[in-house]
Symmetry: C2
């Protein structure tokens, strides 16, 4: 990518982290068209991540919806989540709400991929994204496995395209990280633009590193990074059925990252920054989005800050005002009140881009020209103060635009 | 109104309930322009309800937001809610998030109205709706009281216009009800189109009857009717700061409704039907709305049905699909799953207008042409079955349209 990957003012490139033209050693990816998205098979819709190296580790997280897609169920139940070697992912069909038949189709894909790659099925995760309630044509996908395997190369571009649905922005990169024990690489490919509300997150994201990690530390690093990235974004407050994040660490760099040391701290920092920027890109790419909001809430007690942040970030009124660059902070006040029933009178504060518009629960005199300028920026910060001393929380969110309605009213996505 | 007031297929005119050209006896209403909405004072923005008869009773309900508007605080704290004689309501300014100054302005209006009407301040409720965070110009409103009092007449038309904000549909009527003990009348005027998510409801609604009621029974009748009407609708899931519903019963018909009898049952039925149809009108008038959805959930346990109904009715994906007449029931499945984390695999059922699209948690074969026709109707019914035997719940909701975005992005409302 030509511009800086860390393009948001809310993400920072950690020291010692460089862009890398190459993927982590020992990983190859592929993306081809297999006819899920269109019967002619001209639109890329099938991707593969492979570690060529045995003995690596992995970690995974999934959404906690009551309606879990077949690939999520299959991967959770039949894979060795700490020893994955490959991931097959398709777009155009979520294979969700498809019952036992859906599980059977997902298993068919998993088995065909294992066969084509010379792996055991439990080493191959499957992931799907697209329309809900339609059975995945597993036979067609399975038949494409030899072609998919032949397309593997040390580049993520085709894979990233193949897992897109309504995504517009590119959401993948490869980074070099200088650790005290040596240099390693870390790369990630991510998709997600609608039905995005984290718990942990609502999307697909695949992360590879050639560092050598212990499985339980990979799991902990991934969990911590998710809490600071995909957990903190929302496009539309809508939890998906298919969320999957998989981290694979194959050790091909020869650099071993030991628990608790400086290597691990720096790797964790790089992983955090990488996933945070990808999460921000997902919000910026929120279906039809023009602007990103960031709400920061301090104070409150017993989870009040989290409830307020979600209420503000998911409010269609706040989001429509953000889209229209409307300085109407009354919508923020409304969302705060709705999140904390029975708390009136509530001595809240609101500042938008540093302009304090409400203090002690009431309107505060402010420079309205400065406010109008502030809300017209690409990224708008809402700071909310509540009485009490809970831990501060942060949430990034998309606006609500005509195009969000268009995308979700006029197409079966 | 020329067409039947009970225009929705989800509301029914009870037996013995007739349209009435006249208001209940002993009530007069007024609506004038006083310069809150525009400085020239040409747009109606101030309304008054008065019972000319002493000795009546009243009942009231308010929203439970943590950010309560000054008129709500003042009316709750300083009025005799069981003995209200008058209500002053303005549009164009919510007088919310305006602190002590807002309370003082609301009190100024209350006192001026009491003076103009020869009442005590605690007999006069105040209500406001409009932009949040701007102090009500109480002096200007108070100065208009003599003109407002002079405009009182036995007709609700001007009042209903004066309390509108983004409303398009008329939401007021007067009904005659034949009770065993005699005929009484009941009328109501209501406003609400955006920031509508009931808890109990998010709007202003004023109800008058000339039946004689005991105060505690008026309170109970109102509470029960709200649970079956405004409690069951949502335009955008956004609780307001200003919701107010006030029922006044002045006994001017000479018909006394005793607790527990047939009179009370029939009056309750009429009140239920009236508020239910007004609630449906509010949904139909949801900002920018084209279609109404009704979600009915049966089964589930521990509040699961209520959570699912709210998740479906407030999902921007479900609402955008309703707007676009998109038969994509996957969005309904997604919302069900999101509402019930950790419950997978969940054996849910979905039927849309009688077409069963999912059974046992998986897609069911169905007539897709019939489904496409069904979702293009003005009113679309979604029936959801969950395992378990909780009480059934119902929620009415608006769609999500370009105009909702337009109204809320391009104007400070």
């Amino acid at each position: 990518m030509s511009e800086d990957f860390f393009s948001s003012r809310w993400s920072e490139r950690p020291e010692g982290v460089r862009d890398s033209a190459a993927l982590p050693a020992g990983f190859r990816l592929a993306g081809i068209a297999c006819g899920v998205k269109d019967p002619e098979g001209t639109t890329p819709d099938l991707g593969l991540v492979l570690s060529d190296v045995a003995g690596g580790v992995s970690a995974a997280r999934f959404c906690d919806s009551g309606v879990l897609a077949a690939p999520v169920v299959l991967t959770r139940e039949r894979c060795d989540l700490r020893g994955l070697r490959a991931v097959v992912a398709n777009s155009g069909n979520a294979n969700a709400a498809t019952g036992e038949a859906g599980i059977a189709e997902a298993a068919r894909v998993q088995e065909a991929a294992a066969r084509a790659l010379g792996l055991a099925p439990h080493e191959v995760a499957v992931a799907s994204t697209g329309v809900i309630g339609v059975l995945l044509p597993g036979e067609r996908v399975a038949a494409a496995m030899p072609a998919l395997a032949s397309a593997l190369r040390a580049d993520a571009g085709d894979f990233a395209v193949a897992i897109r649905t309504t995504d517009v922005l590119e959401k993948h990169t490869s980074l070099g990280v200088d650790l005290p024990s040596g240099s390693i690489k870390i790369s990630a490919q991510c998709k997600g633009a609608g039905m995005i509300s984290p718990r942990f997150a609502t999307m697909l994201c695949f992360v590879q590193t050639d560092a050598a990690l212990r499985a339980e530390r990979a799991d902990r690093l991934l969990g911590a990074a998710l809490e600071r990235s995909f957990d903190r974004v929302s496009v539309d407050g809508q939890l998906s059925t298919n969320d999957t994040v998989i981290l694979m660490a194959n050790g091909a760099s020869g650099v071993s990252v030991e628990p608790g040391g400086e290597d691990e701290r720096l790797l964790g920092e790089a992983l955090d920054a990488l996933l945070r920027q990808l999460a921000l890109l997902m919000v910026a790419d929120g279906e039809g989005a023009r602007r990103i909001g960031c709400v920061r809430v301090r104070g409150g007690e017993h989870g009040a800050a989290e409830r307020v942040a979600r209420a503000v970030g998911n409010s269609p009124l706040v989001k429509a005002a953000l889209f229209g660059a409307d300085p109407n902070w009354g919508r923020v006040a409304q969302a705060i009140g709705a999140a904390l029933p029975g708390s009136a009178p509530l001595a809240f504060e609101i500042a938008i881009e540093g302009v304090t518009v409400a203090r002690d629960g009431a309107a505060a005199a402010h420079d309205s020209a400065a406010l109008r300028q502030a809300v017209a920026r690409d990224e708008v910060l809402y700071e909310i103060g509540l009485p009490g001393d809970g831990a501060p929380v942060e949430l990034f969110f998309s606006d609500l635009s005509y195009d969000y309605v268009k995308i979700n009213a006029e197409y079966t996505t």
